[in-house]
């Protein structure tokens, strides 16, 4: 579903990607981990077509994101949902208007149908009763929930999560992860989750890829990463007791 081939990208002479290759199969959820500043969010933006690679390509469902333009890019993005680190809610709109916005602008659904769908989605993320509050009037966890509702309201086939638990307390962060899992079970999207919440996120993902020194340093199931002997992987995942959903072969590039 998502294929990243030999991706190179640098910023002001600093090489962030030095030949990243990664594949996410349809229906699979991949956790993307790595040290701060290693390019996890940048990679996500390349997948979404918000950034263009210097070399290499990003293929989403058979189409190259970096060469897609106009209607073909719009068609690809219609199937894609993105949960931004800060939520990226429109601050001049209330929660209801934010979630309804993509439906109003992109579909021909009646106002009544949009209202039903939005209220249903807000109920799914536990935001019933907060529809008419503005982003500045709600907590960080509620902002993430509202942003998740907005990203999911169009029933996307691909979901990209950029650090969904950053800035939240452990309990709220755990709730968000559980919510993502519940949404995945309901919608069966293909997903990439950029995260530092290793112990929690590893329980809901199928695979984990670790970025280090501009390449995919390790790639395997959560269990395989936890049992890895590679010192860099060990230093990152530590002795957490997380266990993944699936088992499979792990590939380390050391």
């Amino acid at each position: 579903m998502i294929k990243i081939e030999n991706l190179y990208r640098s910023f002001d002479g600093n090489e962030v990607f030095r030949g990243i290759s990664l594949e996410v199969m349809k229906g699979e959820v991949l956790a993307l981990i790595g040290r701060s500043g290693c390019g996890k969010s940048v990679l996500l933006k390349h997948v979404a077509g918000l950034m263009k690679p210097e070399k290499g390509r990003v293929v989403v469902d058979g189409r190259e994101m970096d060469v897609a333009r106009g209607r073909s890019l719009t068609a690809l993005r219609d199937r894609l949902g993105f949960l931004f680190q800060g939520g990226a809610l429109f601050d001049s709109m209330n929660v209801f208007e934010n979630v309804a916005f993509p439906l109003k602008e992109k579909t021909k659904l009646s106002d009544k149908r949009i209202q039903t769908k939005v209220l249903e989605e807000l109920d799914n993320v536990g935001l019933s009763g907060s529809e008419y509050k503005y982003p500045s009037q709600i907590s960080g966890g509620m902002v993430k929930r509202a942003a998740l509702a907005r990203a999911l309201v169009g029933d996307p086939e691909i979901m990209l999560f950029d650090e969904p638990t950053t800035g939240l307390d452990p309990v709220t962060g755990h709730d968000i992860i559980k919510l993502i899992d519940a949404c995945h079970r309901r919608l069966h999207f293909t997903g990439i989750v950029v995260t530092h919440e290793i112990s929690t996120v590893f329980t809901i993902v199928d695979r984990v890829a670790m970025l280090n020194e501009g390449v995919v340093w390790a790639d395997g199931t959560p269990s395989e990463l936890f049992s890895s002997k590679d010192p860099i992987v060990r230093a990152f995942v530590g002795d957490s007791d997380g266990r993944g959903k699936r088992e499979g072969g792990m590939h380390e590039k050391v």
């Binding site: 890019l73 719009t74 993005r77 993105f82 800060g86 809610l89 601050d91 602008e105």
Partner: protein, 239 residues
């Protein structure tokens, strides 16, 4: 920056227009600037009344106060000062709003929804400014002319018939059109520069709140300078 303007004009002429956003910007750029324009127009006209009367009376030509105030306002001061006021009040706010949207990834969110940010953020502002600037300039001119009369006529003794009669004889349609073309082009300059600076806040001005504040300052300074430079070129062409 040139490509930004080309894209904005292109998306302005190709439908659909985001009508609600356009109306909102008409209210923000036009309606909410009226009080400021009334104040600045009135006082500019009053100052012109004083200065004009003082200068003209030296040559015994104080009867020409009306044409002097009228022509100065309609051809030059009205369009320029109204544009500078709108730059300070609305242009800076446009840059700050779009800049904050850029910093908080709201523009990225629009793009990821498959929506064109130009249609939501740039075109409504551009179109609203092109409609509002000439209207605000007209208000500025009218209030300024009456401000001039208040001083010249009521305070310094130039008769209403002389003031307005001479003005009607000397101010031609061509002068009014010159002011109209200027204010129209100033509307384009303000929204072009202010939207561009906000849209690319973070790229050229640094990140965070400091980046937005720098973008806003640059937008106001660049718009104001461009208005004065463009005014010179338009005057030399239309003279």
């Amino acid at each position: 920056m040139g490509l930004f303007l080309v894209k904005a004009v292109l998306f302005m002429v190709i439908p659909p227009l985001k009508f609600n956003r356009f109306l909102k910007q008409i209210r923000f750029i036009g309606l909410q600037s009226v009080v400021l324009i009334l104040l600045t127009g009135g006082f500019t006209g009053m100052v012109l009344g004083f200065q004009g009367f003082y200068s003209l009376s030296k040559f015994g030509s104080d009867a020409f106060l009306g044409p002097m105030v009228g022509l100065a306002l309609i051809k030059e001061l009205g369009p320029v000062l109204a544009a500078l006021m709108v730059t300070g009040r609305a242009g800076s706010a446009i840059t700050a709003e779009i800049g904050i949207m850029r910093m908080s990834e709201q523009i990225d969110a629009l793009e990821l929804m498959g929506l064109n940010p130009y249609r939501y953020l740039v075109v409504p502002n551009l179109l609203a400014a092109m409609i509002c600037l000439p209207l605000l300039t007209a208000i500025f001119d009218v209030v300024g002319i009456f401000g001039g009369y208040l001083i010249g006529g009521k305070l310094l003794g130039v008769g209403a018939g002389t003031y307005f009669g001479e003005m009607a004889s000397y101010v031609e349609m061509q002068d009014i059109m010159e002011g109209f073309y200027k204010s129209l082009s100033f509307g384009v300059i303000i929204t072009w520069v202010c939207c561009f600076k906000g849209y690319y806040a973070g790229v050229f001005t640094g990140f965070g709140s400091e980046g937005v504040s720098r973008a806003t300052t640059q937008a106001v300074v660049l718009s104001s300078v461009l208005i004065l430079v463009w005014d010179y070129f338009m005057t030399s062409i239309l003279f």
